[in-house]
């Protein structure tokens, strides 16, 4: 018999570095889940991506047991990485924003494909470009499908 679900918790935390501090502690602890158990499992499964923010959706059951699914890193996080605007840069308070190339968009699109509502890499690239623009990050060069579609991408 399927276990009865008590709720879902959606967190974004650093791969390989989960610890009982917030947000893991308050989010899971309040539901009576053994936080230490979650941390050990999460860190084991994310040790390859050490330090990168990873979204995780945790299903908590009525009996206080849990399961979790790891998602791909958020597109904006990958975009910022590509735009080389990481924290610790001389000017975190960026007024002039960066740009990414269409090759970068393709790379990000390929990482994000499993979680995106897109069947083709091209559509995913357009979504990435749209997100980048909303963050004030421009696309440099021409897209692989020609310049005509750039405006709507």
């Amino acid at each position: 018999m399927a276990k009865e679900i008590s709720g879902f918790i959606k967190l974004q935390i650093k791969a390989g570095q989960a610890n009982p501090s917030p947000p893991v502690g308050p989010a899971l602890g309040a539901k009576g889940v053994n936080i230490m158990d979650f941390c050990k499992q999460f860190n084991g499964r994310t040790q390859e991506k050490q330090g990168q923010v990873v979204p995780v959706v945790i299903t908590v059951y009525k009996d206080k047991s849990f399961d979790f699914i790891l998602k791909t890193p958020p597109a904006p996080v990958l975009i910022l990485e590509k735009a080389k605007l990481k924290s610790g840069s001389a000017e975190p308070n960026r007024t002039k924003v960066g740009s990414i190339s269409w090759d970068d968009a393709k790379e990000i699109a390929e990482i994000k494909m499993p979680d995106l509502n897109a069947f083709k890499v091209e559509s995913a690239m357009k979504m990435i470009a749209g997100t980048a623009r909303s963050m004030g990050i421009t696309m440099s060069g021409t897209p692989p499908w020609g310049s005509a579609e750039t405006a709507e991408a």
Binding site: Q12, S21, G29, D37, R45, K64, L80
Partner: protein, 278 residues
């Protein structure tokens, strides 16, 4: 470590991941999403309000972002609900790990009392359970032991009960250090020394046995130091390793002269028991 929580209401929701990325750039390291509500967490000392304001300003025209609250969180035991009624754990018919609120199991040779207080090591996880199972096969009598990443101190307690002569238990976590001290005392352990830090604390010392229940990356990082601290023919138990990483770890151990003599597996986790030199 004290944390600050910033709660934002972000519409449209599509901007939640964008704001997560931006906050990640100014030191926020954990987030909880509840539809349009984003709870963002940052270490108290790292929080810089003007940097937050700058991000909110920048997205003012694209999204509606309401700053609902900024609050400091106390440094408390978030795991206390689970800890208040956990089930005892049994290993073979010899060890029981229980809380002070459980009755004593006098038919078991080893009763270990643990109040975990947000530290790792109650035996509920496969990695700790396997450590205890393998320890039952080892003769610790009169031997020196290093417990690397001791957590609650559970393995140090078992080593004491198996008559180890001297135990050094180390952990770099604040909570674990305090908690190990408490559990060592709670179990009447008289020959364990608990220290906060890492391998530098035991540099130059030699042990007959090392207990290392941590994780793959840490084990590989400290493999040489661990081997240096082991007596010739001494034995080391590695745990906290996923099945997929078994050979990577075995190879790293072998390159420091630590050869596999046994292994256990439970769930997706494995334990390697190695001896120094062939």
């Amino acid at each position: 470590m004290e944390y600050t929580r910033v709660i934002l209401d972000i519409k449209p929701e599509a901007f939640v991941p964008v704001i997560v990325a931006e906050l990640g750039e100014i030191g926020f390291d954990g987030f909880e999403e509840k539809e349009s509500i984003l709870e963002a967490y940052i270490e108290k000392g790292t929080f810089d309000k003007p940097l937050l304001d700058e991000i909110l300003m920048r997205y003012k025209e694209l999204a509606q972002i309401d700053l609902k609250s900024i609050e400091g969180l106390e440094n408390k035991n978030w795991n206390e609900i689970w800890e208040s009624n956990f089930e005892p754990i049994f290993v073979e018919d010899k060890v029981v790990v229980r809380a002070p609120f459980h009755d004593k199991f006098s038919e078991y040779q080893h009763n270990i009392l643990i109040e975990p207080k947000m530290s790792f090591g109650t035996g509920h996880h496969e990695t700790t359970w396997m450590m205890m199972k393998e320890m039952l096969e080892i003769d610790f009598k009169g031997k020196t032991v290093l417990d690397f990443g001791c957590g609650t101190g559970i393995l140090a307690v078992l080593a004491f009960q198996k008559e180890a002569s001297k135990i050094e238990a180390i952990d770099h976590e604040d909570w674990a250090f305090q908690n190990a001290l408490e559990n060592i005392e709670r179990n009447g352990v008289v020959n364990a020394n608990v220290m906060q830090g890492s391998m530098e604390l035991v540099k130059g010392m030699k042990f007959d046995h090392i207990l290392a229940n941590v994780n793959r990356n840490v084990l590989i990082k400290y493999m040489k130091d661990l081997s240096d601290c082991l007596e010739d023919s001494g034995e080391i138990l590695f745990s906290g390793i996923l099945e997929d990483d078994k050979e990577t770890l075995a190879k790293a151990a072998e390159s420091e002269g630590l050869y596999r003599i046994n292994e256990l597996s439970k769930g997706k986790w494995i334990l390697l028991h190695c001896r120094k030199n062939k």
